[in-house]
């Protein structure tokens, strides 16, 4: 039998990548193209949806060429930057404005106004998430309020809304000429417009945000055929779509309750599968949809977002000039045996999970004349480890699930000192998979599962192989548990410092 391949499109914040995977889950080809970041005003971040669509077509065509024309490529899966919002004209396929990116903070005032309404409790109750500008619903509302005639045209059914996967699927399946207007349930769950239990658009939430139902895509499972990507190939089914962090959870084969992954990039995103029951959170993690296989119940996850992880190492490099490259932070940190009593809280623009304190500001605590740049480097790495412990602690309190092991991916996993620190701080093994491209692998898995490249999720589990494991050192774990309150105090100080 000829090898069967799956194409994954990873539509990320800085670039669009097309990758081809074989049945063993190994990457056989990759193409990438960056797109422009537009910053029209402070706090505003925009992408050109037409540029992203062009990059998708181009990289996908290239990568299909790399594997011999694409005849053996049997499905396409999409993973996308989450919460980035596009509104376009159904007849022409032209966006009415550039996409509002997930990092864009222009909806802050709108969200403050909405949150002050007496019926604002409805949002958390139905959508499962506290009202915040982080999600796509408020961005859609901003477009309806600010783009001339957008609301009346949307009400007449002339405009369509979507996150990036919706935009790409619509274009891939024909655009103005019969394009399929759908979203996957993980992306829909992050609009604040969906009932997180029934996984349908909620009429009360639509009324609350004043969004016309006519412009919304149909909500579909993450794993299942969505349409045919005629723009690429006459018979290539689009068979999977997930938000990028959920795709990483899927690519790390975290299918059982308790299994969790953390992606260590500029920021960090930790997701833990909680099974088919929605967990009500009280401790600062958020409940989100993990994935859904067609015809099966939705699986949920707890999510903890850390705003600054690798970005703190970049600050050490670019802001302070203490290191020449990100990897050198480990060399500098290893010039000393411990943090010398020094703690860095990287609350550059507030703290996300589990504190959710936008006013917090960064600080370096515990400075004495003993502290050197080596100690500072160690404290910088430890900050990511301590923040991971904060998030895992909140999740354990919310879900009651134990964490058998933390599966990690992302650039910072090549930092051995950090990975060992995380293992010790959590007193849990930390494991890295052989395929680091977990986001695109998750999209490929979703699509391949839908068309039978893999028979079931057990087949996917068999593809996961451990590339490295960091085992907690019991003595270090005990010592770090004793030290943890110092970190917590430093966090409280950073919140107090930023208080008005």
């Amino acid at each position: 039998m000829a090898e069967r391949y799956v194409l994954a499109v990873d539509q990320g914040t800085t670039s669009t990548r097309s990758l081809v995977f074989d049945r063993g889950g190994r990457m056989v080809a990759v193409r990438q193209r960056e797109h422009r970041q537009h910053f029209p005003r402070p706090g505003w971040v925009e992408h050109d949806p037409m540029e992203i669509w062009a990059n998708t077509q181009r990289t996908a065509a290239q990568v299909l060429g790399d594997v011999g024309g694409g005849g053996d490529v049997v499905a396409l899966g999409i993973a996308n930057q989450r919460e980035t919002t596009v509104v376009w004209d159904r007849a022409t396929g032209r966006p009415v404005t550039r996409a509002l990116v997930w990092q864009d903070t222009r909806t802050a005032d709108l969200v403050t106004r909405l949150a002050a309404r007496p019926d604002a409790g409805l949002v958390a109750e139905r959508s499962g998430m506290a009202i915040a500008g982080y999600f796509s619903g408020p961005r859609l509302r901003w477009i309806l309020d600010h783009v001339p005639r957008a609301r009346e045209r949307a009400e007449r059914g002339e405009l369509l809304f979507g996150t990036m996967e919706t935009w790409l699927i619509w274009n891939l399946t024909g655009g103005p000429d019969g394009g399929v207007h759908v979203t996957d349930v993980t992306n829909a769950s992050r609009t604040l417009l969906m009932d997180v239990r029934s996984c349908r658009w909620d009429p009360d939430l639509l009324a609350f945000f004043d969004v016309p139902a006519a412009m919304l895509p149909e909500i579909r499972p993450s794993v299942g055929v969505l349409g045919v990507a005629t723009a690429l190939s006459p018979a290539l089914p689009i068979a999977g779509a997930l938000g990028d962090q959920q795709a990483a959870l899927f690519g790390q084969v975290c299918f059982a309750p308790g299994e969790a992954k953390c992606t260590y990039g500029t920021g960090s995103f930790l997701l833990q599968n909680t099974g088919t029951e929605l967990v009500r959170t009280r401790s600062g993690s958020i409940s989100t949809v993990a994935y859904q296989l067609a015809g099966e119940p939705v699986h949920y996850a707890l999510e903890g977002s850390i705003a600054v992880a690798g970005a703190l190492v970049q600050w050490l490099r670019d802001g302070l000039g203490l290191i020449g490259s990100a990897a050198e932070v480990e060399t500098l940190a290893r010039t000393v045996a411990d943090n010398g009593g020094c703690y860095v809280v990287p609350a550059f623009s507030g703290l996300l999970a589990p504190h959710w304190r936008g006013e917090a500001r960064g600080l370096v605590a515990g400075l004495t004349s003993y502290v050197t740049k080596g100690h500072l480097a160690r404290a910088v790495l430890e900050a990511t480890g301590w923040q991971t412990r904060d998030v895992v602690g909140a999740m354990a309190a919310d879900s009651g699930l134990s964490l058998p092991a933390l599966r990690v991916d992302g650039g910072m996993t090549t930092n051995n000192l950090l990975m060992q620190f995380v293992a010790d701080a959590l007193d849990t093994p930390v494991v890295r998979p052989m395929v680091g491209e977990t986001v695109s692998l998750g999209a490929a898995y979703a699509a391949g599962l839908a068309v039978g490249v893999w028979s079931d999720i057990e087949a996917l589990r068999r593809n996961w192989h451990r590339a490295a494991q960091w085992t907690p050192n019991p003595a270090r774990a005990t010592a770090l548990t004793a030290e943890y309150p110092k970190w917590e105090r430093a966090v409280q100080l950073s919140i107090a410092w930023g208080a008005p």
């Binding site: 930092n415 051995n416 192989h465 451990r466 590339a467 494991q469």
Partner: protein, 230 residues
């Protein structure tokens, strides 16, 4: 004794001036300080800029010493940088070959493992990053010694064919092959190796099995390119 090369003498004089001026001089000032025509000075500075020995401030046009010059003295590539840059290639090599992968570098006379990817069979394995392996009995050690300054004559064959093998010398039943990784300067900065059960790595005649050697040398070349070689 042959005469000195004029352009190198002039470049050295320019570097002395740039170093002393701490980023306060442009091409006119430097030309005046070394007593050369502005056009000559400019073309020498352009070459120094290309090789990374000087840098130019975009707004002022002033020159300062470049990162390439500063790195010259430290001699070796940062081990953690090496791991970060080699990670994708090492993972792919382990996944495709089915064997454990190690990247090692010389620290003094010692062969230190700077990156280790497990054999992809999910068996219990211990991360060996930071451990020292014997220089004399390992393929990693043979490659690093063969390409080091003043390498032993006994390793001429390793140098000539571009890879080394280990047939149970370090540990009975364990076999490995290793190939050199080169940095931007062209010097060998590390050795990349794969290893496992002797019969998995070598055939009956003691040759590396099937495509293993090609996979290894391709990956070593890939890491070298990542480091700026070739």
């Amino acid at each position: 004794m042959p005469g000195s090369v004029q352009s190198i003498e002039r470049a050295a004089a320019i570097l002395h001036v740039v170093a002393g001026a701490h980023g306060t001089l442009g091409v006119t000032g430097i030309a005046a300080a070394v007593g050369l025509a502005k056009t000559t000075t400019h073309s020498l500075l352009r070459t120094l800029l290309l090789v990374g020995f000087v840098e130019q401030d975009r707004s002022t046009g002033h020159y300062s010493l470049g990162a390439g010059l500063l790195r010259l003295g430290t001699g070796h590539l940062d081990a953690n940088e090496l791991r970060a840059r080699s990670s994708n290639w090492a993972d792919a090599l382990a996944a495709r070959s089915g064997h454990a992968v190690r990247l090692a570098t010389l620290v003094g006379d010692q062969v230190v493992v700077v990156h280790h990817v497990f054999r992809p069979d999910d068996s219990a394995q211990v991360l060996e990053v930071g451990t020292i392996v014997p220089a004399a009995t390992t393929a990693l050690g043979a490659v690093l010694r063969a390409f080091a300054a003043g390498s032993p004559a006994g390793l001429a064959d390793v140098r000539a064919r571009g890879w080394a093998a280990e047939h149970g010398e370090r540990q009975p039943g364990f076999g490995a092959i290793a190939a050199p990784v080169r940095g931007a300067s062209g010097l060998v900065v590390a050795a990349l190796g794969l290893g496992g059960p002797l019969s998995g790595v070598f055939d009956g005649r003691g040759q590396p099995r099937g495509p293993l050697l090609g996979m290894l040398t391709d990956a070593a070349l890939g890491v070298s390119r990542e480091l700026g070689h070739g």
